[in-house]
């Protein structure tokens, strides 16, 4: 089986496809609207039927997705041998919601990519937009457009958009605010959370899934209330469980129906682990996530 992307309910919306035979290959597409990180399907018992021992599964990954694979391999949740990885150097994917909202487009007939432009044809006319204008936030800060692990590279590698020192500019912008402003910001953002758990379920590294302590009563970390502290704690759980593991694929933020910038929280934790523990997740399949190990002679702590 190969997991890739295919056209969804309209030309702007892409949906994951599971190719089970050669006849399915024609369903496969790749363009800047292929927004989903597919690696989550490989874990969390999400594959049906589960992968047979010794059998390989093919998966299409962008740079960011490939880091998720590395992280999963590190934690032995996936074996490298069971994968055939189609690596796709990616110039960035689009924030479709923003595209629709700002362009005011609705009845879309077709979408084509012409160079650096997206051409959307609706009932009346063709609209041309520079891709750059609607890039997702996660892509604007991308440091790894090229897959870090793959069996086959589908296109030529490309130059990263963001220099490493620029990686956490959104975090830094947030930190320029006062403590109180930050608190107000998160209070108003997280207050919109409806606890639909899309952020959690879309995350390839949120391996607890159905057993998440946000839902269980044994142990009972959270109640059914939807007040602000509960929402804060839920997002703390999500973020802290990803500390030192998150590969910044940005899925949590993309899938949030309430548009809460939840990836930003993980970006901060990644900045901390980078500065404190000199670790960047999802790059070295041999490395151990820093919070699952220790150093008796810790430098910098």
């Amino acid at each position: 089986m190969v997991i890739g992307w295919g056209t969804g309910y309209d030309p702007l919306h892409v949906t994951p496809v599971f190719l089970r035979g050669l006849e399915d290959v024609s369903r496969l597409i790749w363009n800047p609207l292929c927004v989903q990180n597919l690696t989550g399907y490989l874990v969390k018992g999400a594959l049906t039927p589960p992968l047979e021992e010794g059998k390989k599964i093919g998966i299409c990954v962008r740079g960011c997705d490939s880091r998720s694979l590395v992280a999963l391999i590190q934690e032995k949740l996936l074996s490298r041998e069971s994968l055939h990885i189609f690596g796709i150097p990616c110039r960035g994917t689009l924030d479709v919601r923003r595209l629709m909202n700002e362009s005011g487009l609705s009845q879309i007939r077709s979408v084509t990519i012409q160079g650096d432009h997206l051409v959307v044809q609706n009932d009346e006319e063709a609209h041309r937009f520079p891709l750059e204008r609607f890039l997702a936030r996660r892509c604007l800060r991308c440091r790894h457009p090229n897959p870090v692990i793959y069996d086959e590279l589908v296109y030529q590698p490309i130059t990263p958009r963001t220099a490493p020192e620029d990686a956490y500019r959104d975090v830094e912008a947030m930190e320029a605010r006062s403590l109180q402003e930050r608190h107000l910001f998160w209070s108003s953002e997280l207050d919109r959370c409806i606890r639909c758990y899309a952020c959690r379920n879309a995350c390839p590294l949120c391996i607890c899934q159905d057993r998440c302590i946000a839902e269980t009563r044994e142990p009972r970390w959270l109640t059914q209330r939807v007040n602000l502290p509960e929402k804060f704690l839920y997002h703390f759980i999500h973020a802290l469980h990803l500390a030192g593991r998150c590969t910044e694929c940005g899925e949590c933020e993309r899938v949030c129906p309430m548009e809460i910038p939840v990836t930003l929280i993980k970006e901060k934790l990644n900045q901390i682990t980078r500065d404190l523990l000199h670790y960047e997740a999802g790059l070295d399949p041999e490395a151990l996530p820093p919070l699952l190990t220790y150093n008796p002679n810790e430098a910098g702590i």
Binding site: P50, E75, R211, T216, P219, W221
Partner: protein, 652 residues
């Protein structure tokens, strides 16, 4: 749950600054509390009886005592409630003495704090569960890794105690470093004369299985029930047949094989028995030098062997052993002095290590016990000993004291003066470390009776002048620079962890320090235990040690094993981690962090992977619990729900 609360006045120790009556009254308002009282000395016999009486009378299912520190009286009260028929874990303590009454005189604040602490204890108790220890049977066999003097002593003591012993030695003979020594300090008795009988004992004990030329391949299981794989390396000689007659060695045409037993001062035959007293006294082929293997012809040994023991097709063999405990006695390696460029970096043949000199002194050594210079075979006249080479020197990464060098160079200087009365011996030293019994007297004898010249200072450089060596150093007592011309320079090379110590530690799941020495469980109180239950340490693998200390540790480790084996089963502390298989997602992060190797994975019938705690190995630290993302692994008696209950009292 029906909970009873007993607030101790501790005379006036608590009641002086805490209104204990008020605390008891308030406790009655807490959920599930059906009885609360204040008592003058709860830990006293009548106090304990009062608790027991109330348990029965009020049909209590849980008890909270607010008194002193649980580190003081928790065991006392647990026994008390147990006598009244409650499970000992249906009990909680609130520390209102050390943490309240003794640290503040503000009675109002203290009383309020005591109330909250009692409330927390009650809240936690509501989540307590009766816990029971389980029993794990013990396989009463012991594996001893390393057959130096420490391992030999441990093996003999265990064997004498009636235990089956599996002894693994990586070299072809047992005996370790001690077998290479000439004499021992401070008694100057012959090393092989005192070690030899012990080695022979090992070979004759029926309950000792010796695997020489063997290494531990893997270890699984846990205390009482380890499974060990041992790799027996191919010697190309059938040891069951070999009689050790040595005929093959004498006839072997390949004479350039290295001779590690003689510290490479001599060479050996490609088929060799390391030394005359070797146990087992069996020949082994070094295939890198054997002409049969390198050139494909020869076969002299095969032809000559009277018992037809040569087997060129022999392969490494894996042997499985099951044991209940493991003693690690893998010893040490000698520091490699070639990192000291100023001492020639190993380029000068007459600058040698302490152990090389030991072989020179030994009657079974390369020069038959005559002191000669390796460069030209002549007798030396001036001999310089340099202490602390690879010890107490942070610049080579060895800041620790090797402990034995001061003594062995004193011994070697005395022996030198004995062998060569006309010789001059000089010792450059930093400090003399001689704290053992009769040790300092021994060093003084070297100085006073044997006329060994001790010069306090470091040597900065050794260089050749003609065919002699110039030792250039400082005499810090006189404050001058000194130069001594010497025929032979002996470096008191230090002790370091044996090569491969880390690898073995990982197999055994024990920890080691930054230098590779194995970590004892407690530096003072548990010197031969490790943090892995059932694995013990003996000898220099734990840190530099001399012979008496190694022997003592060998015996100590043996005693620990016997104490462990004195019972038929191990009773486990139930305050261990427990996996809820329903919520375990099989990510196995718990296994990655467990310091004790107490968690393993298992596959359920439906194919799903779950973690499983070995209760007898788990020490109850709770690291897995903190690590587990879905909190499926819970430390019993300190579960998330119990801790959350305490927190909820304070901030929900």
């Amino acid at each position: 749950m029906r909970i009873g609360v007993f607030v101790c006045q501790c005379g006036t120790n608590i009641a002086g600054t805490v209104d204990t009556e008020a605390v008891a009254r308030r406790a009655m308002e807490y959920a599930d509390v059906v009885y609360a009282t204040s008592y003058v000395y709860t830990c006293s016999e009548p106090g304990q009886q009062e608790i027991q009486r109330r348990i029965k009378e009020m049909n209590l299912q849980g008890v909270v005592v607010a008194a002193c520190s649980p580190r003081m009286h928790e065991p006392t009260f647990r026994r008390a409630v147990e006598r009244a028929g409650l499970n000992r874990y249906m009990f909680e303590m609130a520390n209102i003495r050390e943490h309240v009454s003794w640290i503040s005189t503000d009675k109002e604040a203290n009383t309020r704090k005591a109330m909250e602490l009692v409330h927390m204890a009650v809240a936690k108790l509501r989540f307590n569960q009766p816990l029971f220890s389980s029993k794990v049977p013990i396989n009463k066999r012991v594996l001893i890794i390393g057959a130096g003097v420490a391992g030999i002593q441990a093996a003999l003591d265990c064997s004498d105690g009636g235990l089956d012993v599996v002894l693994v030695e990586k070299n072809p003979s047992i005996g370790g470093k001690m077998a290479q020594l000439d004499k021992t300090f401070p008694t100057i008795d012959c090393s092989s004369c005192i070690l030899g009988p012990k080695m022979v004992d090992i070979s004759q004990k029926e309950n000792v299985t010796l695997h020489a030329c063997s290494e531990v391949e893997s270890v699984s299981g846990y205390v009482g029930n380890f499974k060990v794989q041992i790799r027996k390396k191919a010697t190309y000689v059938n040891w069951n047949a070999c009689t050790g007659c040595g005929e093959c060695v004498r006839k072997c045409p390949s004479r350039k094989a290295p001779d590690p037993f003689n510290e490479h001062l001599a060479t050996a035959r490609a088929i060799n028995i390391p030394f005359p007293q070797a146990i087992p006294k069996k020949a082994a082929i070094n295939r890198d030098y054997c002409l049969h293997f390198t050139k494909g012809k020869c076969g002299v040994c095969k032809k000559i062997c009277p018992v037809n023991a040569i087997d060129y097709d022999m392969q490494d063999e894996l042997v499985s052993e099951e044991v209940g405990a493991i003693i690690v006695a893998t010893g040490f390696d000698l520091f490699d002095h070639s990192v000291y460029g100023e001492y020639g970096g190993g380029r000068y043949p007459d600058v040698i290590s302490g152990l090389q000199y030991e072989r020179i002194l030994s009657a079974s050594g390369p020069f038959g016990g005559h002191i000669r210079r390796p460069s030209n075979g002549r007798e030396p006249r001036d001999i310089v000993f340099i202490a602390c080479v690879g010890s107490r020197d942070a610049s080579v990464g060895r800041p620790y004291c090797s402990g034995v060098c001061c003594m062995y160079i004193a011994k070697q200087a005395i022996l030198t003066r004995d062998h060569l009365p006309d010789s001059n011996c000089y010792v450059f030293y930093m400090d003399i470390r001689s704290p053992g019994k009769n040790y300092d007297e021994f060093v003084r004898r070297a100085q006073e009776e044997y006329g060994v010249q001790y010069i306090r200072g470091r040597v900065g450089k050794i260089y050749p002048r003609g065919d002699r060596m110039v030792v250039q150093g400082a005499d810090t007592l006189l404050g001058i620079q000194v130069e001594v011309e010497a025929d032979l320079v002996v470096l008191a090379t230090g002790v370091e962890a044996s090569a491969g110590a880390g690898e073995l530690a990982e197999k055994l799941r024990i920890s080691y320090d930054q230098y590779g020495f194995y970590m004892e469980s407690h530096p003072k109180l548990r010197p031969v235990e490790t943090n892995t239950a059932g694995v013990f340490l003996a000898g220099a693998c734990q840190g530099p040690k001399d012979i008496p200390a190694s022997v003592a540790q060998g015996s100590a480790a043996a005693a620990k094993v016997q104490a462990l084996f004195a019972r038929d089963a191990i009773e486990t502390d139930p305050q261990v981690a427990l996996v809820n298989e329903r919520t375990c997602v099989g990510c196995l992060k718990c296994i990655m962090v467990c310091p004790f190797g107490a968690i393993q994975s298992k596959t359920l019938r439906d194919g799903s992977i779950k973690a499983e705690v070995l209760a007898s190995v788990c020490q109850g630290c709770g690291l897995c619990n903190a690590t587990c993302p879905p909190k499926a692994i819970q430390l019993q008696h300190a579960t998330d729900n119990q801790i959350l209950a305490e927190l909820n009292i304070l901030c929900a």
